[in-house]
């Protein structure tokens, strides 16, 4: 019913909508249009859900704050297999390669959690970068 009204409105501007064949054409296009709209709405709903979940989690900011203050580190307890996996922010440059320089960690988490930044980030060559941690000789 809505579609019929829409067609009447549009037909003031173009004559081809009054054509029965053309309305058949519009059916198909319309069908996909609706499907895409549903997809777009789904995506919008996803973003809205994400936003509301963030808001909900935000309420536990105080708890996180207390925990970090107590523990002294913000590193996530994702993997306790090796020290550089547990505290990547504080492990020394060679930690990831303790076994062998080019060996990827046997632990799959090692694939996700990269070696400390000095190895691959700025200053990796040993020259002082802007944010290079200082090391005295």
């Amino acid at each position: 019913m809505v579609c019929a009204r829409l067609e009447r409105v549009v037909s003031h501007h173009t004559s081809f909508f009054t054509d029965p064949e053309m309305s058949l054409m519009m059916n198909r296009v319309r069908c996909h249009g609706v499907a895409l709209l549903v997809l777009a709405l789904g995506t919008a709903a996803m973003l809205a859900d994400a936003s509301s979940r963030r808001a909900a989690q935000g309420r536990r900011a105080a708890e996180v704050e207390a925990a970090v203050r107590l523990l002294g580190t913000a590193d996530l307890a994702l993997s306790s297999a090796s020290r550089w996996l547990r505290h990547p922010s504080l492990s020394e440059p060679g930690a990831a390669f303790a076994d062998a320089p080019a060996l990827l960690d046997a632990d799959p988490a090692g694939a996700l959690i990269g070696p400390p930044f000095e190895v691959s980030g700025p200053g990796a060559g040993g020259t002082a970068g802007r944010t290079m941690p200082w090391r005295s000789r």
Partner: protein
């Protein structure tokens, strides 16, 4: 406008006539998008969690490297550092790891000064059960949820752990809340003295020094001075800590994403194969269109509509699927890979860090190459002799 609509409608018809191909490609595209997006969503969410706590970290953390590995640092240095201009407080910290063969892994031991800096922490906020160790008390411990579960302990239980030639006994007085499990899952929280004894860190030494400054801008200058004061010092400033997880997940572990590259490549090969083999039916169709007077640009536009639609459906379904997989189902499979071989899994309920920008980027990364790829063989077919295409000889 009418032209484009007519071409779009023709494209829909084409897609319908090749329903098998259309469906296969849409599904493959959705799968690849979902896999890639799932990794992205998970790592971004974790990065966000890390960020929640990073603001509270000390401005500078001083370690001492011995033979390239972190050794212990003398507390005496703390006094010298405290004298530097701009330094408001220096706190020697005692923490480390305790290896458990049964776990085939470590748990983290943290010593907290309940008379000092940790005194201000409200136990009710961070604990799910029990209380923090009392001031001056010994043999009291707070456990992380997963650790307690692994050891089979609850508040009131006691455990004896081997240390050196002897052992040390602890009574569980509290358990961390599950909402902070991501940070505390594997933690054994002790008083400073207990931690020292347990980790065998002698008096006068510490694991590292936490330095707080009056303003963060002092960091460079202060760090330089500390480097002069402490031989073998390694100084990590907060900016770096802040970026750790950025680099962590971006480098190697965009390796997870990199592992998906073969999948992506496979899909592209599939796409290329199907599109170039631009099956005989499709080539014939292009031949017909050329023959009846369609311009190359018009044929390509119809193709574009068809593949844009496939791309949109594939990417859309993939993104929604990935979101559901990670945040509604908890990423089964992927999460275990993330946790590694460790048996202490923090139970976590991640907040999505998904933004419209990310969605747009993923969508573009998936749709644009696919659509571009699909146009090439079509364009190639339009350059062939239409007669040959009609007969199937070209």
């Amino acid at each position: 406008m009418r032209r484009h609509l007519a071409l779009a409608r023709f494209a829909l018809g084409s897609g319908g006539r090749r329903a098998g191909r259309t469906l296969t490609l849409t599904l493959a595209l959705a799968l690849v998008t979902a896999a890639f997006s799932a990794v992205l969503f998970l790592t971004e969410a974790l990065r966000r969690e890390y960020r929640l706590g990073v603001g509270l970290l000390p401005d500078l953390t001083v370690q001492r490297l011995v033979a390239g590995r972190p050794g212990l640092i003398a507390e005496a240095h703390a006094r010298a550092i405290a004298a530097i201009r701009g330094v408001t407080r220096v706190e020697p910290r005692v923490w480390g790891y305790y290896f458990v063969p049964a776990l085939a892994g470590n748990f983290t031991v943290v010593g907290a000064d309940f008379a000092g800096p940790s005194a201000g922490v409200n136990p009710g906020v961070v604990l799910g059960e029990g209380r923090l160790p009392g001031r001056g008390a010994t043999g009291e411990a707070v456990l992380g949820e997963a650790l307690a579960g692994f050891l089979g302990l609850s508040v009131g239980d006691a455990i004896e752990l081997p240390v050196g030639n002897g052992s040390q006994r602890f009574e569980v007085v509290g358990l961390f809340r599950s909402s902070v499990a991501l940070w505390s899952a594997d933690v054994l929280l002790l008083s400073l003295e207990d931690a020292r004894r347990f980790l065998q860190v002698p008096e006068g030494e510490a694991t590292d020094l936490a330095v707080r400054l009056s303003t963060p801008d002092e960091a460079t200058v202060a760090a330089g001075k500390i480097a002069e004061l402490v031989p073998g010092a390694r100084i990590v400033d907060r900016q770096l800590l802040d970026r750790t997880y950025d680099l962590t997940f971006d480098t190697r572990g965009g390796l997870m994403g990199a592992m998906l590259l073969p999948a992506l490549a496979a899909f592209l090969v599939l796409a290329w194969d199907r599109l170039t083999g631009v099956g005989p039916g499709e080539r014939r169709e292009i031949g017909v269109l050329r023959a009846v007077g369609w311009k190359t640009s018009e044929i390509l536009e119809a193709r574009l509509w068809e593949n844009l639609l496939i791309g949109a459906y594939g990417a859309g379904l993939g993104l929604l699927g990935a979101y559901g997989y990670v945040f509604l189902l908890g990423a089964p499979g992927l999460r275990e890979v993330l946790m590694g071989w460790s048996s202490l899994y923090p139970a976590f309920d991640l907040a999505p860090a998904v933004t419209a920008g990310q969605v747009l980027v993923v969508g573009t990364l998936v749709v644009v190459p696919f659509v571009t790829l699909s146009l090439v063989p079509a364009w190639h077919a339009t350059t062939r002799d239409p007669h040959g295409l009609l007969r199937g000889t070209t």
